[in-house]
Symmetry: C2
DNA sequence: CCAAAAGTGTTGGGACTACACCCATGA
DNA sequence: TCATGGGTGTAGTCCCAACACTTTTGG
């Protein structure tokens, strides 16, 4: 490759769409951060920041998540790379977007040390966002919808021990359609990937629901043998 | 965002895994380019190059494809962004990988103007590749396999007019398993997305096969109404 | 005992699998 | 007329969708 031109450079950031399930309110939410400086000062934006020299991209995503929200050890997956030359008014900045799945009720947001506030917003009520972040959220939602049916990632949004109605509500929220309770149960239990616990979850009214746990180890074994998760 | 550090910069490239179907030899191939300069001089590598200032990433992928292989107007989709700090021995270079689908028999490779040679290799017989390109090919193959069943992208690998056995062979090659001829036909024709032409394809021996064409317009309409392609 | 939510089986229809013979064509 | 590959139908099975009543629990 003879290079008759300077090797061009640019800056690279990561941005994370953090999905959290609010089991109490039966609502799917995303985590946003209010920008403290221009551009888009005061606007809400995805948590993220610059990839440092010598730092792997995914590592940068984990680091920014921890720094800006306190979240650690979450499920994280690369989503898409956005590089429109005009997506950042300051300079040419390309961003590698990730999406993360967390259980909202088990994680409390860290006190924001740097005067930036973080907050959860319903995916149905996202405020105006900085940069092209609205587009990124759109792509993330589409990916989540598509992937939920073919990979057992939904469990990442629930507590370790969860009930069948919780799992079903999650699927109904993300896929945006009602599911038959009996058929859903049969389908899920039929895969043999849940272990039934000797506990129930009791909140307020109604009959107590059995608790289940996802059997990660068993899933991996079955997957190797050609099994495909599908709801 | 107060920035106590310099905004870091790096270089961004695109790399393309170009899949081509060799209908005659019943073989799935990828297009490689032999490097003329270090690093990895003489080694085979994916076509690609630097993203220029002010250039959209996808645009860069199209440009490099045209410059290095003469291919134009091909199906192109972003695959994954690879950014291991040590993936390029010279410097920190992040690459956005794409995959492309072309009909190998309809495209002749352009005479290589810049002394670099391009050639098709069977996916089952890929030579040692430069950088982390072997990994990129691996990810691309996995994506192609996964996507072929749920999106009508297989047609991109065939000529506009194709026969049912050609289509079936394509699926068998990519999915790496045999399919029942009668069931395959039923499934495909049952979706009502192919128009049967009043022509047949005759090569050498055996009964002539009917030619079909994919109805792109009809597919888009059905998709809007919630239809899902699946083989 | 009442309200609220969890849990449970059966049946009909559509889709998938498996499978073997005839047809058209060129040599 | 023969060799080669293309085209076709049916029967059994499995999976999915539809659907209503009983059980448990707290108040």
């Amino acid at each position: 490759m003879p290079q008759p031109f300077e090797i061009p450079t640019l800056s690279l950031t990561v941005d994370c769409v953090v999905f959290g399930l609010d089991a109490e309110q039966e609502d799917l939410k995303i985590l946003l951060i209010q920008r403290a400086i221009p551009p888009f000062e005061g606007k809400w934006a995805l948590p993220g920041g610059f990839v440092r020299p010598g730092e792997a991209i995914e590592q940068a995503a984990f680091r920014e998540l921890k720094e800006e929200t306190g979240l650690e050890k979450v499920y994280l997956e690369q989503l898409f790379t956005f590089g429109d030359p005009r997506r950042d008014p300051r300079a040419r900045i390309v961003t590698v977007a990730y999406y993360a799945l967390v259980n909202l009720n088990e994680h409390t947001l860290k006190a924001t040390t740097d005067a930036r506030s973080a907050a959860w917003f319903s995916v149905n009520d996202v405020p105006e966002l900085a940069f092209d972040h609205a587009r990124i959220v759109e792509v993330a939602l589409k990916r989540l919808k598509g992937k939920l049916r073919y990979e057992p990632i939904g469990f990442e949004l629930l507590p370790k021990k969860f009930t069948m109605p919780q799992l079903q509500t999650l699927y109904e929220l993300v896929l945006e359609r009602r599911l038959d309770r009996r058929n859903f149960r049969k389908k899920i239990l039929g895969m043999g990937l849940l272990v039934e616990l000797d506990e129930v979850k009791q909140d307020s009214v109604g009959r107590a629901a059995k608790l289940y746990q996802f059997d990660e180890r068993k899933y991996r074994k079955l997957k190797q043998r050609g099994f495909n998760f599908e709801v």
